[in-house]
């Protein structure tokens, strides 16, 4: 079919033209995102806002699960903790930035506290330990009525748009969430694009080799888990902006599973994948719901299965392999997942064992499809 292995084209040869095209693409995306809330109704605004909120939570999980390779089912707990911390601060009449800092710090601290003992475990055992957090958090939230408001949760006043903006509330919510979400994504991108990203990839692909290279494996796992927790906390705080309330539902274990599913569906180790996964999580139930309410879960499950069977690399992975057929190699994965295909890429460095994801990324390029 095409070049046998387009991956091998060095990124350094990125042509001026394709760089300009990429700039144009990012520019148009930015314009679309900035103008969008004026073209759509409040419901669509709310949907997009929620997609960004969950994308942040999913991106956090991606660091610990996608990058560091540790399956975590605790993300909903951090999401809920962030939301509760934010709501608690509003209730105390503390300013929004204080609430934000509290959401990040509290969830990161809880994350670190869980991670320190948990990283001694691996794989399934680690996943089991992380389940404990949301399972414990829900009854705790119901009991700690003075902090959490009990089972009916905490309600905060809706943030209204300042009059000078001339915006409706839902538009203002959208911009707030968009700006903070973008900053989080850029920070994570920059962090993963260097030493940390390489180290985490090594931790995932070959722990023994990583240790022998002097990478402090456990410390990196703790770090990844803590950053993931902080992202969960930020997402929880962002969730308060459009929703205006938090109930113990936000802590629920099922939300953790949904976030993990969304990550796998969207595509691991990819910012785009996280956004697509979030979109899947928010939008697909709406579609399945309208066809026959009551069976929406069934259709949602079927949609999940279809994606997992036919797009084992997630939606982002599928887009990547389609792009690979048509555009210069330098585009692979866009700017979003370079850290994974960077120096420690399995196709250039040997040590990665044939995991599901590496096997499947090879299939489309080997051209053995009928």
């Amino acid at each position: 079919m095409n070049t046998p292995d387009p991956q091998s084209s060095p990124r350094l040869r990125l042509s001026r033209r394709s760089r300009a095209t990429r700039g144009l693409l990012w520019g148009s995306l930015a314009i679309v995102l900035l103008v969008l809330p004026n073209l759509v109704d409040p419901y669509v605004d709310l949907q997009i806002t929620l997609i960004i909120v969950f994308a942040v939570a999913i991106r956090g999980l991606d660091i610990v699960t996608g990058l560091a390779g540790q399956v975590s089912l605790a993300q909903s707990a951090f999401f809920g903790i962030g939301a509760y911390a934010g709501a608690y601060c509003v209730d105390r009449d503390w300013s929004a930035p204080v609430g934000f800092v509290a959401a990040v710090v509290v969830s990161a601290l809880v994350g670190a506290a869980i991670a320190v003992p948990a990283v001694r475990l691996r794989g399934v055992a680690f996943g089991m330990v992380t389940i404990a957090l949301p399972v414990l958090a829900v009854p705790l939230a119901v009991r700690l009525r003075s902090i959490t408001g009990g089972s009916e949760g905490r309600s905060v006043p809706t943030i209204t748009a300042p009059t000078w903006t001339g915006l409706a509330d839902d538009q203002w919510h959208y911009y707030l969430v968009l700006v903070i979400g973008t900053v989080v994504f850029v920070l994570i991108h920059n962090m993963l694009n260097g030493r940390v990203g390489r180290a985490l990839t090594m931790v995932r692909t070959n722990e023994i080799l990583a240790t022998s290279l002097g990478i402090p494996v456990q410390r990196y796992k703790i770090f990844a888990f803590t950053v993931a927790a902080a992202c969960g906390g930020i997402a929880g705080w962002l969730y308060l902006i459009p929703m205006g309330f938090v109930t113990p539902d936000a802590l629920k274990f099922t939300l953790s599973i949904s976030i993990l599913l969304a990550l796998v569906i969207g595509g691991l180790r990819s910012a785009l994948g996280c956004v697509l996964g979030a979109a899947f999580y928010v939008l697909v139930p709406n579609v399945t719901d309208s066809s026959q309410p009551g069976r929406s879960l069934l259709y949602f499950g079927a949609a999940v299965l279809l994606v997992l069977i036919f797009l084992p690399d997630g939606i982002a992975g599928a887009i990547r392999s389609v792009l690979r057929q048509f555009v210069p190699a330098s585009w692979n994965g866009g700017a979003t997942s370079r850290h994974t295909n960077g120096p420690t890429d399995s196709r250039t460095a040997q040590p990665e064992p044939p995991t599901a994801s590496t096997v499947s990324t090879h299939t489309p390029t080997e051209g053995d499809a009928p």
């Binding site: 394709s18 900035l34 409040p42 949760g153 309600s155 809706t158 709406n286 309410p293 929406s296």
Partner: protein, 420 residues
């Protein structure tokens, strides 16, 4: 290696980014044309009126949500078949009813609210289900001034029109139910001990508060309280703990039919035979008593305000006959008879409020909700129970509860109506 993300030289890039931000902000500043205050609100034409709801059509409360949807659909279908509702402004309108599934999740309910209001452009909300979803929706509805008519929940907080003027409750609160039964216990005029099992949330707290209020200063004493959470699969251990007190009365503030049945059966197997109180929402004859094999028990009490369609004593009542006739082609109404009939009652109240709406505006409809006292329009109410929203702004518009005793396959009245 470092390079600019866009491929432009840094200076040009700055200009480009600046231009982009400026252009976007300009566009953004245009905002959205705000809703025009007018003599006609969205969702209403000269011939139709569109209303919406958010219900648990999936998940643990799916049967209740689907029954609600079916019964409302049945009533509106029959109204539309007769031409529609003749409203106070002289126009006769057909009702369009849209409902979305929230799975009893307040977050989903908020999305449904936004969808109903901004995409379906409904005139009003109706019979939105459950306390938590209604609280979440109510905040927005009161800000946007959208009528949240006759919520399908019995929490007192949803019945305060001085604080949330756009939210109107419908049936007696859980608290008043507890109080009505407590007064019945007090009226027996002897020392009684009460063991309580309640749901660990506002619903359970409200039932318990009502009980406490009603027995205050009397010979009736609560000796033990245990709780469960809705996700529990059994309440056996709680019942065992309560059975040790050998209390005279078992007060079951249990909202889930399965747990209600299991709890009562377990008390029986333990050889404990107290007077058992079943809260109205889970005392359905078909769904709980027959289905749970409880028909042989003789000391079951409950309370109600409607003529239950599955109760033999009302089989020949014209209102119940009409109800059964209308819901015949809506089989899901049978899935949870009590919730279905309550929703049907709310639909009667709703249509009656529309008839009194003088202008095609939400404000006019709200005024009608506030003043509606047309008891005759709500024919499934028990004799003596009244419908009057104008009586108090902090009470539900339905007034009156009757404590009942299960005997001969029927819930028979044992005390005078409380609050009629």
């Amino acid at each position: 290696m470092k390079r600019s993300a866009t491929g432009f030289p840094p200076a040009k890039r700055r200009v480009a980014v600046g231009a982009l931000v400026a252009a976007s902000l300009l566009l953004a500043a245009c905002g959205r044309s705000s809703n025009q205050a007018s003599d006609r609100d969205p969702g209403i034409t000269d011939t139709t009126i569109k209303i919406g709801s958010s219900l648990p059509l999936s998940g643990g409360l799916a049967a209740a949500g689907q029954a609600t949807q079916a019964a409302i659909g049945a009533y509106f279908a029959s109204v539309n078949k007769d031409g529609g509702v003749k409203m106070g402004d002289g126009h006769t309108r057909k009702i369009k009813f849209v409902a979305y599934d929230d799975g009893y999740d307040p977050a989903k309910a908020v999305q449904n609210y936004q969808r109903l209001v901004s995409q379906d452009k409904v005139f009003a909300l109706f019979s939105t289900f459950g306390t938590a979803p209604n609280l979440a929706i109510g905040k927005l509805a009161n800000k946007d001034k959208i009528p949240q008519a006759y919520v399908h929940a019995g929490d007192a907080i949803l019945n305060d029109r001085t604080k949330t003027p756009w939210t109107s409750g419908s049936y007696p609160t859980y608290e008043s139910e507890g109080e009505a039964y407590a007064k019945y216990l007090v009226s027996q005029n002897k020392p009684l001990t009460v063991a309580v099992l309640r749901q660990n949330d506002t619903l359970g707290t409200a039932y318990l508060d009502g009980l406490k209020k009603g027995i205050d200063g009397s010979q009736v004493k609560i000796v033990k309280t245990t709780t469960y959470v809705p996700s529990d699969s059994t309440v056996d251990s709680q019942i065992s703990a309560l059975a040790q007190t050998k209390a005279d009365v078992l007060y079951m503030a249990v909202a889930l039919p399965g747990l209600m049945i299991g709890g009562i059966q377990h008390a029986k197997t333990l050889g404990w035979d107290p007077q058992t109180f079943l809260v109205s929402i889970t005392s359905d004859i078909d769904l709980v008593i027959k289905n749970g094999g409880l028909t042989g028990l003789t000391k079951m009490y409950s309370d109600t305000y409607i003529k239950a369609a599955d109760d033999p004593q009302w089989q020949d009542d014209p209102a119940v006959k009409k109800y059964l006739e209308r819901t015949k082609s809506f089989p899901k109404a049978k899935g949870d008879g009590f919730n279905a009939e309550v929703a049907y009652m709310q639909a009667e109240m709703f249509v009656s409020a529309l008839q009194q709406t003088k202008k095609p505006t939400r404000q006019a409809f709200r005024d009608a909700l506030d003043s509606n006292n047309d008891t005759k329009a709500v024919d499934v109410l028990l004799p003596g129970v009244t419908f009057d929203a104008s009586r108090s702004k902090t009470e539900p518009p339905i007034h009156g509860l009757v404590v009942t005793h299960y005997e001969g396959g029927s819930w028979k009245k044992v005390a005078d109506c409380v609050g009629c």
